[in-house]
Symmetry: C2
Subunit: 353 residues, 2 copies
């Protein structure tokens, strides 16, 4: 099967299937609701206010972002409760930008050291903060045993400590989700116990990721922050966390060359992203040809093996890491039942700071 062309759409273009997107949003809202977790989806995945509105309408308690720039875009489009899940190192200019947002929304931020707590309090007294803890990913975050020290520094600096958060990023690997979810549970539970014992009120223990959320147990997190689930991607497909019918975003691409051993698509790393985990089978997948493999990727070429196509054929490519792909384009085409319904601007694209 090859895709028929979409009217008015030139390749390569990112296409979102709205029916599939809405089903993914509903499914995650139901899953987290049944399990008793508040859902605060990470909107760095899509950077699109129209999608955030669908998530909030489905019951999300607020939004998660990675940067102040993303917070500015979503508050500008009506979000009233935003967590910047990042250990910000504030400057006076960055603090001013957060202060300006606080007139219109509740903004919470992350801290992960006494130094960052002191720096944040000096520039932005009274802001709600969550202490970042390391649940095994070994990126930012302190050990759960250190959370009280950082929380004390935050309180001393005039910040409003509301809880702790962690990102179980080591859940992105084969057979990794369940053990990572277990570590996340234990780390958040330990942090919550330690904070309460030290006299802190713990309103939020925040965790979760698309791979781990289905395995997350009660008693650790009170809130989860998955992002990728809205679209799915080749990583989640290959890890078994979504199936092809649940993939809502693809890159429509055209075969430009065909050789006996390979075909070349007009979609490369500048629309798919260059992410490739060690365990991935290639640089993305073809939605309608699960046996095909993308063996190499240049900026504007994908080399595909295992498929018989001719120049001019169109295919739907599933990026490995959808957050990276969306961040490469200014807008996406929205399709319902195979017909173009409109376009959405990727309003927070490139808002890195």
């Amino acid at each position: 099967m090859t895709m028929g062309p979409l009217s008015g759409v030139e390749t390569p273009t990112i296409v979102v299937d709205r029916g599939c997107l809405e089903r993914n949003i509903t499914r995650m809202a139901e899953l987290t609701g049944e399990r008793g977790f508040a859902l605060r989806p990470h909107v760095k995945t899509h950077k699109i206010p129209e999608i955030a509105a669908l998530q909030l309408a489905a019951g999300a308690v607020g939004l998660t972002v990675a940067t102040i720039g993303e917070a500015e875009v979503f508050v500008g489009r009506g979000a009233t409760d935003v967590f910047i899940a990042y250990p910000l190192w504030l400057t006076a200019a960055k603090a001013d930008r957060i202060r300006a947002l606080r007139d219109r929304a509740r903004i919470a931020v992350g801290v992960d050291s006494a130094a960052s707590a002191t720096n944040t309090g000096r520039l932005l007294a009274g802001v709600p903060v969550l202490i970042e803890i390391d649940s095994g990913h070994h990126r930012s975050g302190v050990e759960p045993t250190e959370v009280v020290g950082v929380a004390g520094a935050a309180r001393d600096a005039g910040l409003d400590v509301v809880g702790a958060f962690t990102f179980p990023g080591h859940s992105y690997g084969p057979e990794a989700a369940a053990p990572a979810a277990r570590q996340e549970h234990d780390a958040l539970a330990a942090a919550g116990t330690a904070l309460r014992a030290a006299g802190f009120e713990v309103a939020v223990l925040s965790g979760g990721s698309t791979p781990s959320v289905a395995a997350t147990e009660a008693g650790g997190a009170t809130e989860v922050r998955p992002g990728v689930y809205v679209f799915g991607d080749a990583q989640q497909w290959e890890l078994g966390h979504c199936d092809p019918t649940e993939i809502a975003l693809t890159v429509l691409a055209t075969v430009v060359s065909s050789y006996p051993d390979r075909v070349i698509l007009d979609a490369g790393s500048k629309v798919l992203g260059a992410d490739r985990a060690a365990w991935a089978s290639g640089y993305g997948r073809l939605l309608d040809y699960p046996e095909a493999r993308i063996t190499t990727l240049s900026e504007h070429h994908a080399t595909v093996v295992g498929v018989d196509l001719r120049p001019g054929d169109q295919v739907r490519v599933v990026p490995n890491h959808v957050c990276a792909a969306v961040n490469l384009v200014d807008e996406v085409v929205v399709v319902r039942d195979g017909q173009v319904e409109g376009r959405w601007a990727v309003a927070a694209r490139g808002r890195n700071s």
Copy 2:
């Protein structure tokens, strides 16, 4: 040494050192001039009209682009001779866009099969074309022995065959540049001989890449299309094709967390790009700390080992593949002698089609 902050610049931000950029442009113009090659730089690397103007002022004969969208941006800013070095599969809409450009500029395009020649001629009769040949990279392009067949199909389709081109992309590897340049020479020379023997006038044999251009011998290419040389990047540094004093583009980043075994920067794959060749030492380099290594990269975090830094310190990160990094931002900060001189829009960012 840590960077001092740049006035008015928040991190992460891409910074271009204009003095270094101008020296790189001059050096490549001199190198290619001495060796007798016309220089047609690939502007996909920078996507910035101000830099293209510097390249043309230094003697470039025209520009190379990868997409019609890039051609539109640079012709819109005054370019009059543009080669789209890509085996385009035209639609009527894409042909119309090229036709519109031909009123203002000479536009040449690539074809790499009889099918693409026929398709191109049907939609865009009379356009100058170069036949793409494969010199060992095994992406797109035909064998030199097949070039006459494709050229004949192009002529039959009403196209103006002006020569052949190749991309020796296999030059991007340790000790790979000289052998790739040799293969490029032999392939272009063979294609030229075959085309002339078949009665074609061969105005252009186009090759070249930043790694291979210094090793390219006379008698093959008449023209070269390097791109990365304007900025340099960590790949070229690690391959020995530039040294740190020749790196004109860095990502200014702030240390947000410091642990005994690592520090975390606020620059991740959404500003550095995720490219990592198998032979690369990490996900980029720190310009002022050559011993440091970026061991993992998330969207907004780089994990760095081998360096002693504190939260709030700023560092200059050299992306692995500079073409990918520039394509992530809407503008770059231009610095001369350590002072901010202005900002340039990345005018062709995201022009993938």
